[in-house]
Amino acid sequence: MTATVPARPATREEIAVLARNAGLDLPADLFDELVAAYAGIEPMLMRLRRGRDRADEPAHVFDPRKFMPVED
């Protein structure tokens, strides 16, 4: 396993940058909500397993037949 990413919890200023990059232009009270909520998610991101083999596939399969138009 690789080192924890991110290495430490984000600061308010860093969360503001992430929010801006995500196109979120939140008023102050909603930004406070986001900071509080992100604190609940961030530990999960820090615990994500990393360092897999390059060829390890994610749990997804794209079957192009599934997107063919279907007659009603």
């Binding site: 196109g23 979120l24 998610i41 749990a59």
Partner: protein
């Protein structure tokens, strides 16, 4: 602590005519319909009367479709009288969670965003239940868009728990759980991304099945997390779940997540026996984090299954937290993607709870999302490997009884790990069924999960357990 269910079974008075019909499940009602002992119209009116009398304080319904229900019930009676029998769901009243589209009927997802939304087409699951002759009684409350709840800042209040209105029914299929638990309807459809069928089933003392991913079409169901969304039955018993699943399962080429796999006769699989079944008891998911009452009740349920001839053996799988972390990371990103336009332009039209659960998804990096779905592969592969030794897994259905209905209460995500999430992430069929009561009279639940598309074995074990116990027969008193 675990008093016999009969101690709570003070239901509608015996011999109270149509009111007694609401005490019955799908199988019994179907038997009466075919014997000419009642009519779909009588059952439907009994349901509507009970809703009118008691739902004012339970708030399990957003819309009660009185005219539709009466018309469909009359049609079912006429068809049955004419010898046209659409199967065991014919003439049976049911409810749909309000994130399930219904043509011409409000489909709000319990959100201000969709407060006036009347879709032109019904969801596939609604179409199948209508074709099976079901009688749509109404649309039920949910957490906002099946994630933001319980919320007190929406156009409709959160549903309450029929066992004690000071408590919540779980979620996100909160109204479906409360409506079946309150005996307003014998059956309802819920949706489940991380436990949203099974949690309210556990809190409301009913039986809820999350089928295998791809088993029931999600076309026309508002998405929560594309790669994790399921919908399925919520009923009184495993036998009733079998009937409702047969009515709504099957391949849908218009749902990219649907899988073309034959649908067996689930009711025919209910042999009443678990003799020889190998059940892995995943005790480490609940033994430390659950309440003592839950631990005792689930252990006792395992003993019942053992006594019925199953080989129950403790098994260690990956830590519960790993499944929760991977699932929540995936969901957060997909949820934000679903709601990004409205969250950017009108965030105050969502509940605070929804914003808190969905907005952080905007900040998660692409690499983290892919790492989470790679982790999903690993966790799923390891769980499936354990099926070499077992036919089923058993664990707690939820780690505590229902929470108080407190607008200022701690978010449930922060209280305990969600023991339903492993089978969400792995897409396996999982059944929650009642297995006891807390000292405060709130239901407790057992969870059984099986191999992909082996709902039949899951339901068989649940049905065998319910033939040997009476927890699922308990009925709350609605004053």
């Amino acid at each position: 602590m675990h008093a016999p269910a009969t101690a709570y079974a003070t239901s509608t008075p015996a011999g109270s005519g149509d009111a007694a019909l609401t005490d019955l499940g799908i199988v019994e009602l179907g038997r009466m319909l075919r014997a000419g002992a009642t009519s779909s119209l009588a059952i439907t009116r009994a349901c509507l009367d009970r809703i009118a009398a008691h739902d004012g304080t339970l708030a399990s319904f957003i819309t009660v479709t009185v005219d539709t229900a009466l018309a469909q019930a009359r049609r079912a009676d006429a068809e049955l009288a004419a010898g046209l029998d659409r199967g065991p769901f014919h003439g049976i009243p049911y409810a749909l969670k309000d994130n399930v589209d219904t043509a011409g009927i409000l489909s709000s997802s319990h959100s201000k965003i969709f407060a006036d939304r009347i879709p032109p087409e019904s969801a596939a699951v609604a179409q199948r239940l209508e074709q099976a002759g079901g009688v749509l009684i109404g649309k039920t409350a949910t957490f906002e868009f099946a994630i933001g709840g319980p919320s007190w800042d929406l156009p409709w209040p959160p549903a309450r728990n029929p066992w004690n209105r000071d408590y919540l029914p779980g979620g996100s299929s909160s109204g479906s759980g409360a409506a079946v638990g309150a005996r307003f309807v014998p059956a309802a459809i819920g949706t489940d991304t991380g436990g949203s069928i099974r949690w309210p089933a556990a809190m409301c003392g009913i039986t809820g099945l999350k089928p295998t991913y791809g088993r029931v079409s999600r076309r026309g169901v508002h998405p929560n997390t594309y790669s994790l969304d399921h919908c399925g039955p919520m009923t009184r018993s495993a036998a009733d779940c079998a009937v409702m699943l047969s009515a709504c399962a099957g391949h849908d080429p218009r749902d990219p997540g649907s899988i073309d796999e034959a649908v067996p006769d689930y009711a025919a699989a209910l042999s009443g026996s678990v003799a020889g079944l190998r059940i892995g008891l995943v005790r480490h998911w609940y033994e430390e984090d659950a309440t003592a009452e839950v631990v005792a009740a689930v252990d006792e349920a395992a003993d019942v299954l053992r006594g019925l001839g199953a080989h129950v053996e403790i098994v260690t799988l990956d830590p519960l937290r790993d499944y929760v972390d991977a699932k929540t990371t995936i969901s957060s990103v997909e949820l934000f993607t679903v709601h990004e336009r409205d969250l950017r332009t009108r965030p105050r039209d969502f509940s605070k709870r929804l914003r808190g659960r969905v907005l952080p998804g905007a900040l998660i990096r692409g690499e983290d999302y892919v790492q989470a779905i790679r982790w999903r592969t690993e966790l799923t592969s390891r769980m499936f490997a354990a099926f070499r030794r077992f036919d089923l897994f058993a664990t707690a259905g939820w780690l505590a009884p229902a929470d108080p209905a407190d607008p200022d209460g701690v978010d449930f995500f922060q209280k305990r790990q969600l023991v339903t999430m492993p089978f969400s992430l792995t897409g396996l069929p999982a059944l929650n069924l009642p297995c006891g009561f807390s000292a405060g009279g709130l239901p407790l639940s057992l969870q059984l999960a099986g191999r992909p598309f082996d709902e039949a074995t899951v339901l068989r074990a649940g049905d065998a357990y319910q033939r040997a116990t009476d927890w699922h027969l308990a009925t709350p008193v609605l004053a």
